[in-house]
Amino acid sequence: MGSDLRDRLDDLARHTPPASPPPELWSRGVRRSRVSRATTGALVLVVLALLGIGVRTWHSTTAPQPADTGGTVRVPDRLFTPSPWLKSFTGDPGRLIAVIPAIRRTLRHTENGFVGVTASTNTYGFLDLPGVAPSDAVLSDLVSLSPDGRRLAYWVTGGTTRGTPHGAQPVTGLDVLDLVDGTVERWRPETTHGLAPSDLTWAGGDMLIFDCGQWVKGGGSDGGEAIGLGARLWRLGQDDPVPLAQATGRRTFGDLVTATGHWLVRPGSERVWLTDLDGSPPPRRIDSYHADVGPYVNPSGTRLVGLPTSDSLTLVTGTVPATNGDIGDYRLVRVENLREIYEIDGWLDDDHVVASVGLRNPRDAALVSIDVRSGAVDTLIRDFVTAQVATGLLGTPPVPAKAPPSPHDPRWVLGGALAALLLCGLALWGIRARRA
């Protein structure tokens, strides 16, 4: 073997049978190039689409910006069930037109939460309420939105002062969050085992009425005996809550009350007591009136409306006498074209109550105004979901509502995107392998 490797390779190569190039190489190359560009373009589009979906999903799950805190109010003509993946507001949300109880999910937790709908822009976002008590620790509403939409009161949990806590997360106080400036007013009474809240309602936008006692024993959270129940009045920004009887100069004031503005109604058997929380004139006794639910007094303190339990489509109404005495113009007002009146939520004006109602279709609910003189109904918010509404902001005509972002479970979105990318990769690999 005298030749080296170079010569041997050259010798082997030179014995390759001669061959002519096929004539269509250029055309095949052009076709291949076009197909390749089209394939690449399609894959780029797919990837861009996936990125777009991802960005959109991420954007829709990012925190809503604080809403305009000016005086603009937009009453949405419907409310939407919020996505559990909706984010919180990044700052103070401003006045809220509604608060919707909703399931909230994060990558690690599923919990009960509350979604606020801003009054000025109808933006949806979960409300971060530090220390809010679990819903099973409170017999009544856990949160309460003031009629002017500016404040949100909520029961909070924490450590008890001395004894065994009643339940794992006992109620130990009450917070009121100013939704515009973010300030919080706190009430933290001494409690041995925890508080037993039973009522939480607003009297105007600056007074809170609540009822709670003290659990006499700790341990499990299923029921138990509570003492010291009695309504309290909290004039926000002024004093600590005081017993309502003390605030109104009465000896007792333990029954369930309703309030409209600073008018307070305490029902009794066949009579009602009407109190002006501003102090004058003295409480009035209104005889010959009874409603199973309510009654509720109108903003000027001149008319009562309540609901009988026997008939879910009738209002019991009458005018308030100037002094103690029988109710005037007592009437039962039949409301037509509804299936049921669930609840009276407030007043639109002196002659129209705001009520959440069931419509003829059992699946449909709405927030309506009802003329207490005639029973005429006007829809305010259709497709009404369970919510608290700032009834004091409902004076402007409803506007078409825009659906909030409805982000999906980001784990599914991410998994889907990865699967799609994997499929694209496999497709590309297959194409290249076939053409290799």
């Binding site: 190569a13 014995h15 250029w26 190359g29 390749s36």
Partner: protein, 164 residues
């Protein structure tokens, strides 16, 4: 003819035979060599505007990489034989060529490409590395391993390979 078709076809006419020889050394089969070269030239059309001035290095790069890729895709669907088919010796030097052919057959495609580019195409280690898309150090190690395997596969060649 648009977009350099004339130049492309002139290049193919001038270099087809030489490139086919390289392809044959890379594949070891005449038919595979033709397929490989045609696929390579078809691919080169898409990049012709960029490489028109000096297309050969790019074409050579596609040739060797495409061959490695083809080997990866084809090895799982082809049966390998321990014994090469009997070949009748018909002319002088055929035995040596067959021996080299068999020896090249034991090399992995990348090792084979290193041998062909370095000792047939006379590329430098750096040029070989660029063509294969690997580091120069990889070319060195692949060449060393390839030569060792050639010596093992063809002991008669060992003496002349010592100097390489």
């Amino acid at each position: 003819m648009p977009d350099g078709r004339d130049d492309f076809e002139a290049f193919v006419a001038a270099r087809y035979a030489a490139l086919l020889r390289t392809a044959y050394l890379l594949t070891g089969h005449h038919q595979d060599a033709e397929d490989l070269l045609q696929q390579t030239l078809v691919k080169a059309v898409g990049a012709w505007r960029r490489i028109e001035g000096d297309p050969e290095p790019y074409v050579r790069t596609i040739l060797v990489r495409q061959n490695v890729s083809r080997w990866r895709h084809r090895r799982w669907r082809e049966l390998s034989a321990d014994v090469l088919p009997e070949v009748r010796v018909v002319a002088e030097g055929v035995e040596d060529r067959l021996a080299l052919h068999r020896a090249l057959g034991v090399l992995a495609p990348r090792q084979r490409a290193v041998i062909v580019l370095r000792y047939y195409e006379d590329l430098t280690e750096a040029e070989t590395a660029r063509a294969l898309g690997v580091a120069v150090g990889t070319v060195k190690s692949q060449a060393r391993d390839a030569l060792r395997r050639l010596r093992e596969a063809w002991p008669e060649l060992a003496e002349e390979l010592v100097s390489l």
